[in-house]
């Protein structure tokens, strides 16, 4: 569950946090495309280095490293299946790299933008308010649910629950004392939030005002330019050099 930490927004202030979410989103989509299009270790490494610079500029390297720890399980699966089917460690390495680049693009975006900013960007794109709001709530609640999971797990361990014990079926059965309180809590919270929103007149007027409108700054044009160049690089490497 710890990879969910990657989506946890901590109030931080940095060069990147002050930029417009739309330009950051564009860049992160382009970076993500690299990992989808290419399976070339050099390209992926170059992109990874670029991402590390971005993460450094948004002062979120620490959180990013933490989120990678949550992916270790997937890396293990990738390595094992690659060992079994192709007998090559290198492919396992490249596929893991691809996974890192893919997830880092998104985590950089979420780590350096506030949920409110993302919401504003969605409204600006004329996505209906209800949808935007649900999406923002979902992002915001991932860390809350994570914390809740931890508390429930602690409570049940204090009552002698051992998840490590037993075979596969016992393990599944042992998850129930954790999943049920989590689910009940989440559903209950949904109702509470709905009530809390209604008493504060959510939805009373079709158009919500924003007290901090989005604005493109110099940095944003720079990010867009970088995205455009990177997009051209993708096209060049793929179509003209035929790299995989």
């Amino acid at each position: 569950m710890s990879f969910l930490r990657a989506f946890k927004y901590k109030r931080k202030d940095s060069l990147m946090h002050r930029l417009d979410p739309r330009s950051k989103f564009l860049l992160s989509i382009i970076l993500m495309s690299f990992s989808v299009v290419f399976l070339n270790a050099y390209i992926l490494l170059a992109i990874l280095i670029f991402q590390i610079v971005l993460l450094g500029l948004s002062k979120t390297l620490r959180e990013w490293v933490y989120s990678l720890r949550g992916l270790i399980f997937f890396f293990a699966i990738i390595f094992i299946t690659q060992m079994l089917f192709s007998g090559s460690l290198f492919t396992g390495f490249v596929l893991s790299l691809r996974l890192i680049v893919l997830s880092s693009s998104m985590s950089w975006f979420f780590l350096s933008s506030t949920p409110e900013d993302i919401g504003r960007a969605m409204s600006a794109a004329r996505i209906p308010m209800e949808l935007t709001f649900s999406f923002i709530m979902a992002i915001r609640f991932i860390p809350v649910i994570y914390d809740e999971f931890q508390s429930i797990y602690d409570a049940q361990r204090s009552r002698g629950l051992e998840l490590e014990k037993g075979g596969f079926r016992t393990k599944i059965r042992n998850l129930m004392p954790i999943l049920i309180p989590l689910l009940v809590g989440t559903i209950r919270r949904t109702y509470e939030i709905a009530d809390a929103m209604e008493v504060r007149a959510f939805g009373a007027s079709p158009k919500r005002t924003s007290y901090k409108p989005l604005k493109f700054r110099r940095g944003d044009y720079f990010l867009c330019l970088a995205s455009a160049i990177l997009a051209l690089i993708i096209v060049y490497l793929k179509l003209f050099l035929g790299l995989e």
Partner: protein, 274 residues
């Protein structure tokens, strides 16, 4: 019999920057009744979780009967040290109150007949007999709290740690919990109560550990510590009613009479309490 020795304990949460607990040194012996007091965010819950192995020290050590908690599983510790977390909603999952209580007994492998007896006993202790087949999720806040305590006490741990046990409870139930816990202590078990309710602490516990900003600023006789205005202010506490009363009267009240006097006064002046 259980003894916890905490040595130079420092603790910080994995991604946090600051230490939540700083240089804690404590010994908890059998038969003690301890209140952990301190302002919101002082680190009380964090300390409690370090005592039962849910959290492991960042530096220093917590030893239970001489064994470092790093080398013990939480389940193993839980058999000896019961921890009642403050939010009962975090632990309910069963369909009936009875099943909820049985969960711990099952995990620890109690035989069926013994389990049955313990369940009946604990239901009675907490006045939950009529709720035996009710759904835990449908209980009221105070009832849930009682069920949460019952579901830990049922396996009779040697030390019971309770995180804010009296929150949301009516006065009669608060007295009842007080009575139940007192009885445990008189039977030689130990209790550690985390609370903001100084009156509850004063009438139950002999010893107080006062935390402020992650440090122990006082450890010792509860009545002495809670007469110290400086400590009280630092930990955002208030003087227990009885100590105030003693100061007004100018002589000390016998310990045995505490409850009676408290009970009497709250009956006579229901509004004046606290």
């Amino acid at each position: 019999m259980v003894e916890i020795v905490v040595e130079n304990l420092f603790f910080k949460y994995p991604e946090a920057e600051n230490y939540v607990l700083k240089n804690i040194n404590l010994i908890i012996k059998e038969g003690e009744s301890i209140a952990i007091l301190g302002e919101n965010g002082a680190g009380k819950t964090t300390l409690a979780k370090n005592l039962n192995g849910l959290l492991k020290p960042t530096q220093g050590s917590v030893k239970i009967d001489g064994v470092d908690t790093r080398n013990l599983s939480v389940a193993k510790i839980a058999r000896k040290i019961g921890f009642v977390c403050h939010n009962p909603d975090h632990q309910f999952f069963a369909e009936t109150v009875e099943e909820e209580i049985r969960f711990g007994l099952r995990n620890f492998g109690f035989p069926e007949n013994e389990a049955e007896r313990s369940i009946r006993e604990v239901l009675k202790t907490f006045g939950l007999e009529d709720y035996r087949f009710r759904n835990p999720f449908q209980l009221s806040g105070g009832e849930k709290k009682r069920l949460a305590i019952a579901s830990i006490m049922v396996w009779n741990p040697e030390l019971l740690i309770l995180d804010e046990p009296t929150i949301g409870m009516d006065y009669a139930q608060r007295l009842n919990i007080q009575r139940v816990l007192k009885k445990l202590v008189s039977e030689g078990r130990s209790i550690v109560v985390i609370t903001h309710d100084v009156d509850f602490a004063a009438s139950l516990c002999e010893r107080a550990i006062i935390l402020s900003k992650g440090e122990v600023i006082g450890d010792g006789c509860l009545r002495k510590l809670l007469s110290d205005s400086e400590v009280i202010e630092k930990a955002s506490l208030k003087k227990p009613f009885l100590i105030e009363l003693e100061e007004e009267l100018g002589f000390s009240i016998m310990e045995e009479d505490f409850d009676e006097i408290c009970d009497f006064l709250t009956r006579v002046f229901p509004k004046c309490h606290s």
